[in-house]
Amino acid sequence: MTPFASQTTIEIIYLIATALFILSLKWMSSPRTARHGVWAGEIGMVLAIAGTLLHHGIVDYRWVAIALVLGSIIGVPLGMVHMTAVPQRTALSHAFGALCVTLVGTAEFYLRTPTVPKFMMSVLSMEVILGSLTFTGSLMAAGKLQELLPQRPFTYKGQNIVNLSFLAVAIGLAVYLVFHPEQKILFPALVGIPLIFGVLMIIPIGGADMPTVISLLNSYAGLSAAAMGFVLDSKLLIIAGALDGSSGLILSVIMSKAMNRSFTNVLFGAFGQVQSSSGAATEEKTVRSATAEEAASILAAANKVVIVPGYGMAVAQAQHKVRELYDALTKRGVDVKFAIHPVAGRMPGHMNVLLAEADVPYDRLVDMEDINAELPQTDVALVIGANDVTNPAARTDAGSPIYGMPILDVDKARTVMVIKRGMSPGFAGIDNPLYYMDKTLMLFGDAKAFVGSIVRELSGGTHS
């Protein structure tokens, strides 16, 4: 009865694909083997799609073929975006993944109603709820990252209650449908309410919380795919979804630990609000500023320099100039390293990718724990576009909203230099005592232009 391949053959192909997927993630453990990981994933994916096309139930290939080609065509530009646009691209792809799952879930419901077994209806509801809230939530996140929407958190009184009641209604509806799956008139609401919840969920989230939120949305996308695996009784999908779900979850845990906050605090806390109450009274404090020439001579005289990049470097597109600075200093025998805070940037690992793109060798990019041990022996810590992750108040000031957050201890270096546009507080609106320390020199200006002038000073006439 099977024209192309038996069900067993297809299942074996899926088994091989599953093994390749696990290997693919395993090889991501090190930059040396990571590209093998991509190949393993690609082979697994091609096998799985080819195997599925042999499925005996498929009677009409026209739409499948058109859709596969169209999707691939759309995928190419999404794979070629500029590295600075990777966070919003990632959010967008979470949205696409969730859209696929939601559409399939919806179709499956209408194919199965009015008789849907209870367990089936439960996982189907979970698939559709997670899928649709991830769809709109990710679109919102992508919009904020692309700055189509304001990045500042938007909050109002009773916001959490409103949001949670949307979610509660959706869950209540799901429970009702589990017992009354013939009530198909209610199904559009099961999709629609989480769609609204997804939007509301992201409205209070500020740009600085994006690394956690993107990871969390990643996790939801994975879990909804796993739920779809239960609906379709596909072990391959269950496993791929579980892998993606746990990956997103681990990243969210790492991100929220790096901000010393819980998930609930990120989702319901709206960072912006907390600040406004504290640090209202700021007395006049003086800062020392320096020119590019002075900065260059201090850097040239140093033995060990640690550069601390932040989101500001990405905004100013300064990563290539920073690489030139790295080259110029390395050529003079200065030991240059980069300190990477887990939440620097707008998604996990954002800074690493930007610096790798600018050809900074990855063994120069050092994690927070390791670099903190080295900072007390560092001559110059150069902060470029980072703020809160260097704020010593997180260690010392119990009243600070970021108290307890693990930071890069740049204040322990012998000299600190901070490139900054002006004295306005950072994204979270918290004053940074680092700037008023005696050993700190403020370098006021655009990150790209300022680093460029330091490089010119270093390579130009004034050889010491």
Partner: protein, 98 residues
């Protein structure tokens, strides 16, 4: 609950543990490519969409299935492409360039 469901739950649980163990070992250096890779792998949901669109049971299911294939396939191609582009950029300083 049937045996099938129990089997699937076991598979889900084991895959979750494997995921935790494997991903815990991923270097923080590669967290961004990790996310785009898991995104591409997650787009394996395309197999469900292919069956849905190809079985051609109702017009609704075919239309939704076709759209779902487009959405998932763009993640497959885009996800693998950008992951590989990112990973190609990670170079070490040890084998010194001239």
């Amino acid at each position: 609950m049937g045996e099938e469901i129990i089997n699937s739950l076991f598979v889900f649980m084991l895959a979750g543990f494997i995921g935790f163990e494997v991903i815990r070992r991923v270097s923080p250096l590669l967290h961004t490519p990790l996310m785009s890779l898991t995104n591409a792998l997650d787009a394996i949901a395309v197999v469900g969409a292919i069956v849905l669109a190809g079985e051609h049971k109702t017009t609704l299911s075919t239309v939704l299935g076709t759209l779902a294939i487009v959405a998932a396939m763009s993640n497959v191609v885009g996800g693998f492409l950008i992951t590989d582009r990112m990973l190609r950029m990670f170079k070490t300083s040890r084998p010194q360039k001239p």
